[in-house]
């Protein structure tokens, strides 16, 4: 007889053997819930993340940049799709998840509540925000849940392309006129600290980490990943002559990495709790798109239903 205990044993054996849990396998409720929360939050971040960059598609400064930015924002929509599909394998449909986003029940990455006010922000987002996202996401390619890990392999390939593209925008600006260089530095100043916040609270106060590590959903702690990001990014900034806006930043020979100043967690909490500079605008844009699209979705379903009815009538005739 199969007992819960034996199912649970098998589950942990699979995890410990570094094999994948698949949709039809037994899994603990909390594992399922954690995955749905994390994957849907990631999906929502992709969809909301289209807005700050979408803001500059119509104003991109050259044809080459316009095409690249359009393609990039389109990739984000694609990531949203894979991730919603990964959630569906856990029994939660896209409509339900979107509803959670629209009612404010589900969160998305707070970074997208900052405004994109100059062209250089397209560079900074690619370089820093996508860079931080990759740090978080590369380990997820080995996540214990099969559909999520496979979606992440694809997402990471595209994100790394976006990151190079963003850095290339920054490089072009940094090598350009005084005005362009100042624009690049200003964007770095505004996006640096919010990017560090993307790794989440310090390990000492992080609430979701321990079980996620045991389940091999998460492989490294928030602080470890943040440190890697800083160590990777500082030399990149130096290479193009930009200055990281942190007077306490200093290379520590002993740990072979950078020490950096304290993060303003009060600001982080404010933005998470809905008081960032663009929280209202982002939600309003999302809700408007959804509401404006309602008649379209209804009409498409009505037509599809009519079509499949008449097709089944033909088959039975």
């Amino acid at each position: 007889m199969t007992t819960i205990a034996s199912l649970e044993d098998k589950f942990y054996q699979t995890i410990d053997a570094e094999e994948k849990i698949e949709p039809k396998d037994w899994m603990p409720d909390d594992y399922r819930k954690t995955l749905v929360r994390q994957i849907s939050q990631h999906a929502h971040s992709e969809i909301i993340g289209m807005l700050p960059e979408g803001n500059w598609i119509t104003r991109a400064p050259s044809l080459k940049r316009k095409l690249a930015l359009l393609a990039k924002v389109q990739d984000e929509a694609g990531h949203g799709l894979y991730l919603y599909a990964a959630c569906e394998t856990l029994g939660v449909g896209r409509d339900e998840l979107l509803d959670q986003l629209h009612t404010g029940k589900a969160k998305y990455s707070s970074i997208f509540n900052y405004p994109t006010i100059t062209w250089a922000d397209m560079g900074a987002i690619g370089w820093l925000v996508d860079g931080a996202a990759i740090m978080n996401q590369v380990p997820l390619c080995r996540c214990s849940y099969g559909p999520y890990s496979r979606a992440m392999v694809r997402v990471c390939k595209e994100e790394s392309f976006h990151q190079r593209q963003g850095y290339e925008i920054m490089t072009t600006l940094a090598k350009g006129s005084e005005e362009q260089k100042a624009m690049a530095q200003d964007a770095l100043n505004r996006w640096w600290w919010p990017s560090l916040m993307m790794f989440g609270p310090n390990d000492s106060v992080s609430t979701h980490s321990e079980m996620s590590m045991r389940w091999k959903i998460k492989r490294f702690s928030n602080d470890e990943l943040r440190q890697r990001f800083v160590d990777m990014t500082v030399p990149q900034a130096e290479l193009i002559g930009l200055t990281i806006p942190d007077p306490l930043l200093k290379f520590n020979e002993e740990k072979k990495g950078y020490d950096f100043g304290p993060i303003d967690w009060d600001e982080f909490k404010m933005v998470v709790n809905g008081h960032g500079p663009c929280n209202e605008e982002r939600m309003a844009a999302r809700l408007k798109a959804h509401a404006d699209g309602e008649w379209v979705r209804e009409a498409a379903s009505a037509h599809a239903a009519r079509k499949s009815n008449s097709e089944s009538r033909l088959k039975t005739a």
């Binding site: 044809l63 005005e179 798109a289 498409a300």
Partner: protein, 250 residues
């Protein structure tokens, strides 16, 4: 002749560029994720097509211009696109009817252009006709789906059709540059394009259960650089960076 050829190329490029710019406004705001992606694809194709043509224009002019000078540094009256493509997106119905009207012309125009006596233009036409065939399939499907959807979608589609009908004919009235290019075999005869385009158009409108009333008076002027009031705002947005920071590389 050289002047007419350049104007003809720019007119073709501007149609795709301005419609691509309009479609790109939808990115992130579509009714459903799959169609946000699909519409962005069409925008990418159209702007890509315009880019080939602007590059060719720069080669022909041979005066140091780049592909970016054409979309970002010309004045409003130096754009020769038809009025249809600059009309605002409004809702999904208007966007789809505008797209469908454009695609009916675009595909058959490109098919005709693939036999052009200008080998470079015929190559561009051959390459982009494949994409245009997909665009027409996409917009036709939406016209049928929404015409045959709900009462609301049908009303919206009929309103969109009535509203945009007056802009459709401009696509088929040869402008100055086209007349010259038809004479030398660079541009195909517009009469046969019109016939094929309307055959497709009528069939889809019928299947969608919509009615098309030929407008009493058509609107035109774009081919001569006289645009609707919408064009200035579109350019103000599109040209913002190049106008604010002249002469820089991005």
């Amino acid at each position: 002749m050289q002047h007419s050829r350049l104007k003809f190329i720019l007119q073709w490029a501007d149609n795709s560029m301005i419609l691509g710019q309009r479609l790109s406004e939808w990115c992130g705001h579509g009714p459903v994720l799959e169609h946000d992606i699909a519409l962005t694809n069409i925008a990418l194709d159209l702007i890509g097509e315009a880019r080939y043509l602007y590059q060719y224009a720069a080669v022909l002019e041979a005066n140091g211009k780049s592909e970016d000078d054409y979309p970002f540094l010309r004045k409003e009256q130096e754009f020769f696109n038809v009025l249809l493509v600059e009309q605002p997106n409004e809702d999904w119905a208007v966007t789809m009817v505008r797209q469908f009207m454009f695609d009916c012309h675009h595909l058959h125009f490109l098919n005709g252009m693939s036999g052009s006596d200008d080998p470079h233009l015929s190559e561009i036409a051959l390459k982009t006709a494949k994409e245009a065939r997909y665009h027409l399939k996409y917009s036709s499907d939406w016209v049928i789906r929404l015409g045959d959807g709900t009462a609301e979608s049908k009303t919206r589609m009929q309103d969109a059709l009535d509203k945009l009908a007056k802009f459709q004919n401009e696509l088929f009235i040869p402008g100055e540059a086209e007349v010259e290019m038809i004479k030398v075999g660079i541009c195909p005869d517009m009469g046969s394009i019109r016939e094929k385009a309307f055959a497709t158009f009528d069939e889809v409108i019928k299947e969608a259960g919509l009615t098309f009333a030929k407008p009493a008076v058509g609107r035109s002027g774009g081919k001569n650089g006289i645009h609707s009031e919408h064009m200035g705002y579109l350019l103000a947005t599109m040209q913002y960076m190049q106008r604010t920071y002249p002469g820089l590389d991005w």
